[in-house]
């Protein structure tokens, strides 16, 4: 046994785990998406691209095969909401992370701990908490009424805003942490240098702080955007189930719709979108390295 061999087969456990937990399940989903649906759910092995065609073309109410925008609308809405959530998270996380990074050392640990605190509670409980906050006679409504600001208001719950709030709340810690890490590494001398060179606060923020924290922001964007694409709870519990996102669409097809191959095809499409996003991000990172 020599060292070079060990470098190859020493990684075998990692490869086995990757194959069993990542490659195999994804392979099964891809195969299911190409299979033939069973009459009452389930599937039979086969090779058919019908499920992918169905995303774009479906029989209309008159029985003619026609272009159907409904699944694209759901995909588009999912991308839009995930993107908006990422932007809002970034806008809120940057100042929050900055404050944490500037805090005295003994406070820093406490603040970082507080950011991660919600993860100790189950996701469904955290989303339910927002039902209580936003609901009729909820905390917000009672407060506004108590202050005499509003007499009678429309419900905040079961709106797109509620859904967005829930998504931002759920995923913002995943943005704060990497941004905090990159701000902490920021050399204060660079900020001083910018001021010495007559850079205003705004110019300093835009041309010094932002570019230097960009890697953290991009890492956070990936961590927020990707799980948002698969969100299921928020649209149902906070959005009132009035519109579907891709996660709900996949659930419907595997459940009541009894069309597993189509559900799998949408899941593969979702995965494809995630891969495109990750690859664009990786390309950008590489470009940055070559610039530096």
């Amino acid at each position: 046994m020599n060292w070079r061999d060990f470098r190859i087969w020493g990684l075998a456990p990692a490869w086995v785990i990757m194959a069993l937990t990542l490659v195999l399940p994804i392979g099964i989903v891809v195969l299911v998406s190409l299979s033939i649906r069973g009459a009452y759910g389930g599937f039979d092995w086969g090779l058919s691209f019908d499920s992918y065609a169905k995303i774009l073309f479906e029989e209309d109410w008159d029985g003619n095969l026609a272009f159907t925008p409904q699944y694209l609308a759901i995909i588009g809405r999912t991308l839009w909401l995930a993107g908006l959530t990422t932007l809002i998270c970034a806008a809120l996380a940057l100042p929050a992370a900055y404050v944490i990074a500037q805090a005295p050392a003994r406070w820093k640990a406490v603040l970082v701990y507080l950011v991660t605190l919600p993860f100790w509670v189950s996701m469904i409980v955290r989303v339910y908490a927002w039902i209580i906050i936003l609901g009729n006679d909820g905390v917000i409504e009672k407060t506004l009424r108590g202050l005499g600001l509003v007499a009678d208001m429309d419900s905040l719950l079961f709106t797109n805003g509620a859904m967005l709030t829930g998504l931002v709340y759920s995923y913002i810690p995943l943005m704060i942490l990497p941004v905090f890490a990159s701000i902490e590494k920021l050399d204060p001398a660079l900020i001083e240098a910018s001021h010495d060179l007559y850079g205003s606060r705004w110019v300093t923020a835009r041309r010094v702080i932002l570019p230097l924290t960009l890697p953290g922001l991009m890492a956070g964007a990936v961590l927020v955007f990707v799980p948002c694409l698969g969100a299921v709870l928020e649209p149902i519990l906070l959005g009132g189930g009035k519109v579907m996102l891709m996660g709900n669409l996949i659930q419907t097809q595997f459940g009541g719709g009894r069309n597993w191959p189509f559900g799998a095809a949408i899941a593969v499409t979702l995965m494809g979108l995630v891969m495109i996003f990750l690859m664009l991000n990786a390309l950008r990172a590489r470009r940055e390295v070559s610039h530096a």
Binding site: I28, R37, G38, A39, Y40, G41, G42, W45, E58, E59, W61, D62, G63, Q70, Y71, A73, I74, I131, G135, N136, D154, S155, L157, F158, I236, L237, G240, G241, K242, V243, M244, N248, L249, T252, Q253, F254, G255, G256, G257, R258, N259
Partner: protein, 339 residues
């Protein structure tokens, strides 16, 4: 098929330890069986009972189709029971030979979902319809029109369920479209009705219904008979379960044993246990849905006088197992509604 075997062998390895004598794994509608009865069964037989809950027939079907579920006894509704039996997902337990079978009301024997009574013993039945909060809505409730074609003042004051199964059925009753219709023109009418109702709907949601309708957050909610009755009778909510002249959507849940269950004999014991007059009565008093087996009417908590919800005065039409073509139309209605 290979995948099912793969999954099965992978999953079988896990609950192998639990196959030892004295275990029963239940997968039932959430909170549908009296915990006191389960405790009583455990102390009488020494069998350890594990209970998991589901909230939709679809969840149950998907789980059984995915391969060995590890459950010994599950409680699907009639149309899903039919699909499971046809798909070979159920164990033939010769239900007609069980002591419990003698307790089953004559009219629930030999039904289309289990014609020869091989697979199932019924547990509870009831209807799906809509409930109104009388503080919020004073109008008539003798037709589905009140729910599907509400007046302007009910904008944002109606709630429906988060899956199509019974909601589409109710819309079909109202429009006179047969259940499981494969006629896309007919189903387009169902879609149009639901789409026109959507601006009035605050939420399509199947949980936390008690609070939403009982507290008056919405004026009308799609709901089940027994749940509506219990919220009115036990919590004093000012609600009324409608008896629409077009009819109500019927359901009946039964005990069945999934194919390959590890503890079939314990499952049979539990079915017999639940079907004795004493226990069936206790279950009826707990669950608040009608009992398809013999109960002691003298100690039954709910009667036609104090629980009219359970004794419909209009026709009840039971959901059926739809063909793939019909199911696709239902899914299409729902997806377009929520697109």
């Amino acid at each position: 098929m290979t995948m099912r075997i793969l999954l099965t062998s992978a999953l079988l390895a896990l609950p192998a330890a639990a196959q030892a004598e004295g275990v029963l794994n239940l997968y039932i509608w959430s909170d549908s069986i009296s915990p006191e009865l389960i405790a009583k069964f455990e102390s009488e037989t020494g069998i350890k009972v594990n209970v998991d809950g589901f909230n939709s027939n679809e969840d149950l079907l998907t789980k059984l189709q995915a391969g060995a579920s590890g459950y010994d006894l599950v409680t699907p509704s009639q149309h899903f029971l039919k699909i499971m039996a046809d798909e070979g997902l159920l164990e033939d337990i010769d239900a007609h030979d069980l002591a419990a079978y003698q307790a089953v009301d004559e009219k629930w024997r030999g039904q289309w979902w289990d014609e020869t009574n091989e697979y199932s013993i019924p547990l509870a039945f009831g209807t799906a319809g809509f409930t109104v909060n009388r503080d919020q809505y004073k109008g008539p409730v003798d037709s589905w029109a009140a729910f599907f074609e509400p007046g302007e003042d009910l904008k944002g004051k109606i709630a429906s369920l988060s899956y199509p199964d019974e909601v589409v059925g109710a819309a079909q009753l109202y429009l006179g479209v047969p259940f499981c219709s494969e006629d896309s023109a007919e189903m387009k009418r169902v879609y149009d009705l639901l789409a026109a109702q959507k601006p009035f709907v605050a939420a399509y949601t199947s949980d936390n219904i008690e609070n939403r309708i009982g507290g008056g957050e919405v004026a009308m909610h799609f709901w089940w008979d027994g749940n509506s009755m219990k919220t009115r009778a036990n919590d004093g909510a000012p609600i009324e379960y409608a008896m629409p002249k077009e009819g109500l959507v019927g359901w009946l849940d039964s005990f069945v044993v999934p194919k390959g269950a590890a503890n079939v004999e314990n499952a049979k014991k539990f079915i017999d246990f639940m079907s004795t007059v004493e226990n069936a009565t206790a279950q009826y008093n707990f669950y608040g849905h009608s009992a398809p087996v013999k109960i002691d009417t003298a100690s039954a908590k709910y009667t036609p006088e104090n629980a009219p919800e359970l004794f419909p005065t209009v026709k009840v039409e039971f959901s059926r197992a739809c063909s793939p073509a019909a199911q696709d139309l239902v899914t299409k209605v729902w997806t377009q509604l929520l697109q």
